[in-house]
């Protein structure tokens, strides 16, 4: 039983940290702030969520587990909102999307100042 729990928690920790690593590589490699937000909000959320669930599984204590799960839920609630606000603020501040950007439906709403 305890061996299974340890292996399960360990696997989730490793996968979670791999996703966190990928998120940070994405922030370095992708071209503009909008694409970087994609990496940070998705891979980052899954990575941290998996690590918190690993903690909940490993702790085998209801008080710790509920707090870890509450952490996961708050991650899921806050990550999209912060990503959304970052992207919106960047666009309104006049940060242009990178040159590869094919189509820009927002240009009509927020005309860019030159």
């Amino acid at each position: 039983m305890s061996a299974v729990v340890t292996i399960l928690a360990g696997t989730m920790l490793v996968i979670g940290s791999l996703f966190a690593l990928v998120a940070s590589i994405g922030i370095v490699r992708l071209e503009d702030v909008y694409m970087r937000t994609h990496a940070a909000s998705k891979a980052g959320t899954l990575g941290s969520g998996l690590m918190l669930i690993a903690l909940a599984v490993y702790a085998a204590d209801l008080a710790v587990a509920t707090r870890a799960l509450a952490g996961v839920i708050f991650f899921l609630l806050t990550a999209p909102i912060s990503a959304h606000l970052l992207a919106k603020a960047a666009y309104e501040a006049g940060y242009r999307p990178c040159a590869d950007t094919k189509e820009d439906a927002m240009a009509e709403v927020f005309p860019q100042k030159d």
Binding site: V22, M35, D100, K102
Partner: protein
């Protein structure tokens, strides 16, 4: 709908009072038993809608987690490619949902799904601006959201 949920919680409290233990596990057991009781009398008191709605809510949550895993995987495969070739873009998504919390929910779901990130809502709440990391075909992306998440949200909250 809400009142049935309240009744369910009251039944959980009653169970805890009768069995004399307000521990979390006993409360959870009481809640499950209350749900079972409500399920047994679903035809008489009209709780069928309650259960189908709960089922749809679970379905929505499961879709959400599945899409999150998928999107993280997709970002991961994009990021580790030796050469990143993408066609990012902003698309205007026409909203069918019109209540504030439904828009919020849809926007959050869109953000956590593969390749899309909601950026802004127009002042008249009819258009959601979405940034896509790779959109060869904007209309296909719009249709995906329309037939996927937006429909599910409408099913749960309408």
């Amino acid at each position: 709908m809400t009142s049935l949920f309240l009744i369910n919680i009251l039944m959980a409290l009653a169970w805890a009072a009768v069995t004399g233990s307000f521990s979390e596990i006993n409360l959870a057991l009481g809640f499950v038993l209350g749900t079972a009781a409500l399920y047994l009398i679903r035809e008489q008191v009209g709780t069928t809608a309650y259960f189908s709605r709960v089922g749809k809510a679970f379905n929505l949550a499961a879709t959400f987690v599945y899409e999150l895993v998928l999107s993280a995987w997709r970002v991961a495969t994009i990021v580790v490619r030796p050469k990143i070739e993408l066609q990012p873009g902003f698309i205007a998504y026409p909203l069918t949902v019109d209540r504030d919390f439904e828009i919020t929910m849809l926007a959050n779901l869109i953000t956590l799904t593969p390749g899309t990130l909601s950026v802004d809502v127009s002042a008249d709440r009819k258009t959601l601006y979405v940034h896509c990391i790779d959109v060869p075909d904007p209309q296909a992306t719009i249709d995906d959201i329309k037939n996927g998440f937006e429909r599910k949200i409408l099913e749960v909250f309408r």
